[in-house]
């Protein structure tokens, strides 16, 4: 079971500010998702390798060949704040 503290902890790691009502709603939803995982757990997986990827594909790689970048103007188009061609972010408190 996921507690309210768990939700608050994960929210803080993701820099999400949740109201008490939202915390409660997330707690319920996350627990519902976990309950679904429990349903999957009921399947007998003896002798099955843990699977991280559903597609049986490996070694998808590319050659080390440069490709054109995007212009800074495009990359900065959605920036909430900028200084020249830098993104500008609030000062970082932590050293």
């Amino acid at each position: 079971m996921i507690s309210r503290d768990d939700v608050a902890h994960v929210a803080r790691l993701a820099r999400l500010a949740l109201t008490d009502a939202e915390l409660e709603r997330m707690r319920e939803q996350l627990n519902a998702i976990l309950a679904h995982i429990d349903a999957l757990r009921a399947v007998d997986t003896t002798g099955v390798e843990p699977t991280s990827h559903a597609v049986p594909q490996f070694n998808v790689m590319r050659d080390d060949e440069p490709r054109p970048c995007f212009p800074p103007e495009d990359m900065l188009a959605n920036a909430p704040d900028r200084a020249g061609d830098f993104f500008r972010v609030p000062r970082i408190i932590e050293e």
Partner: protein, 488 residues
């Protein structure tokens, strides 16, 4: 090292930027120093809907390094997401490796201060992507905002974690030096610590001398040179020793090295609760490295620093000291070998490279050595002029300095400045005669048995000739002349 009743235990984590042309997961170039945010794309900025694709050369470089450290390359490996929140990381997670890293269990041999070699175990080697660069507006204390440049975000990084088997700050510096040399020989990293191509974090702990269990470790960050690594670790060992001697406990934490003030200070650790919530990167399918590919990479491994050093002793008959100095970088070793091919007197070439060339250039700076104005063949040309008696060794040093400045061939400088050694017996005899005639007192001294007086005459003639007289001939002429005088 034993700090009184404590054993020092150090483990190093080294992050090396790979010298691929493009980033780890997209085709943006990795050129250093480009204008801000000109080398980015939606992939390396983590825009929704984009997909990363692994750079094959980065994997090859990782395998190459793993083989050089005698690691076990994991045929099956995969990437993972490491989550944390910091403005220099556009996706709010870093693609890294966690379970199933590229390689594990290797070693690196280091030279200890006492001259003996020692193996330091390597725990794991994995690949990941670099983050962007933050520039603070104004000073750190007064800054209201930070500026972010994502050019570096996504550049391939190779993280190599040593086992906690390093026993002193000196050994840590030796490990880093040996590590860097191997990477540079392999051509996978330029090894430039100032530009951040090579970064090092350390875990330091102390335990009661001889105890098996490790003490609480402290992580040290922000050491950006070999010297700073050693200084920071020396400070930290002292700090922990004093705390333990006072009966205090060591707190597990991350500390930052402050090079200007010369101490480590605690980072506020609240936000650094190591809660990275790793999980397999769903956007990248796992790798199954082909054994034939790994064999091929092994087959073309270049000669590594240690092997080359041993060969320099065996093949050229060089002292161990010379061999170590000359093999500190691949470029320097290659410079030396090219010069010896042109002028096959290994020890003489070694002396000139160590004293004259390294006075002008740092021996571990690949680029500087490769671009040296005095090329190996030019150095050989200079040495030939000494060998055939055209100039004296002393004059040759002046010629060398001119070569560094002007980039000319030695012969051209000698011709232009008229530095050719005077080896004409008649001309030298006249100079000797005049020196002897001008100093009857010294001749008297010589007669009374002060043979050292002969040296004074040689010196005088050398001086009178502007250093151009052939010293061996002058010496012979002076002796013959004095011999004659004493017999009369």
């Amino acid at each position: 090292m034993t700090a009184g009743k404590w054993d020092v235990v150090i483990g190093l984590e080294v992050h090396a930027q790979l010298t691929t042309r493009t980033k780890m997961f997209c085709g943006c170039p990795t050129t250093f120093g480009a204008p801000p945010n000109t080398q980015t794309c939606p992939v390396c900025q983590g825009m929704p809907g984009t997909l990363p694709v692994v750079n094959r050369r980065a994997i090859e470089y990782g395998v190459r390094t793993a083989l050089a450290f005698d690691c076990r390359v994991n045929h099956a490996c995969r990437f993972a997401r490491k989550h944390y929140y910091y403005p220099d990381m556009p996706k709010n997670f870093q693609i890294s490796q966690y379970e199933e890293p590229l390689a594990e269990e290797g070693w690196l041999e280091i030279d200890r201060p006492d001259g003996h070699a020692r193996r330091i175990g390597i725990q794991r080697l994995h690949l990941e992507e670099d983050v962007g660069k933050l520039v603070h507006e104004g000073t750190l204390e007064t800054a209201q905002a930070s500026l972010v440049d994502f050019n570096r975000a996504g550049v391939p990084l190779m993280e190599t974690v040593s086992k906690p088997e390093i026993r002193s700050p000196e050994e840590a510096a030796a490990y880093l030096r040996a590590f860097r040399a191997v990477l540079v020989y392999l051509g996978v990293c330029d090894g430039n610590m100032e530009e951040g191509s090579l970064r090092c974090d350390a875990n330091v702990s102390l335990k009661p001398a001889g105890a098996a269990r490790l003490g609480t470790k402290v992580e040290i960050k922000n050491m950006n040179s070999f010297r700073n690594v050693q200084r920071a670790l020396e400070f930290e060992v002292k700090r922990q020793t004093e705390a333990l001697d006072r009966g205090e406990r060591i707190v597990q934490e991350t500390r930052l090295w402050d090079a200007d003030r010369g101490y480590t200070r605690s980072m506020r650790s609240k936000e650094f609760a190591h809660d990275y919530r790793y999980f397999p990167e769903p956007d990248l399918v796992p790798l199954k490295l082909d054994a034939a590919w790994i064999d091929e990479i092994r087959r073309v491994l270049p000669e590594l620093p240690r092997a080359r050093r041993q060969r320099f002793v065996a093949a050229y008959g060089l002292p161990a000291y010379d061999a170590a100095l000359l093999t500190q970088s691949r470029a320097l070793a290659e410079y030396y070998e090219a010069a010896v091919r042109d002028f096959p007197q290994p020890k003489l070439v070694s002396n000139w490279v160590m004293s004259e060339l390294l006075r002008e250039l740092p021996g571990d700076d690949e680029r500087a050595i490769e671009q040296a104005t005095v090329t190996p063949s030019r150095l050989a040309g200079l040495l030939r002029l000494i060998d055939d008696g055209t100039i004296s060794g002393k004059i040759a040093k002046t010629v060398f300095e001119t070569m560094v400045r002007t980039g000319e061939e030695a012969a051209a400088i000698v011709r232009r400045e008229g530095l050719t050694q005077v080896a004409d017996a008649g001309a030298l005899a006249a100079m000797v005669a005049s020196a002897i005639a001008g100093n009857p007192k010294a001749v008297e001294d010589y007669r009374k048995g002060k043979t050292a007086a002969a040296k004074a005459f040689v010196g005088q003639v050398m001086k009178a000739s502007g250093g151009k007289a052939n010293p061996a001939m002058v010496s012979k002429l002076v002796e013959a002349e004095l011999e004659k005088l004493t017999k009369t």
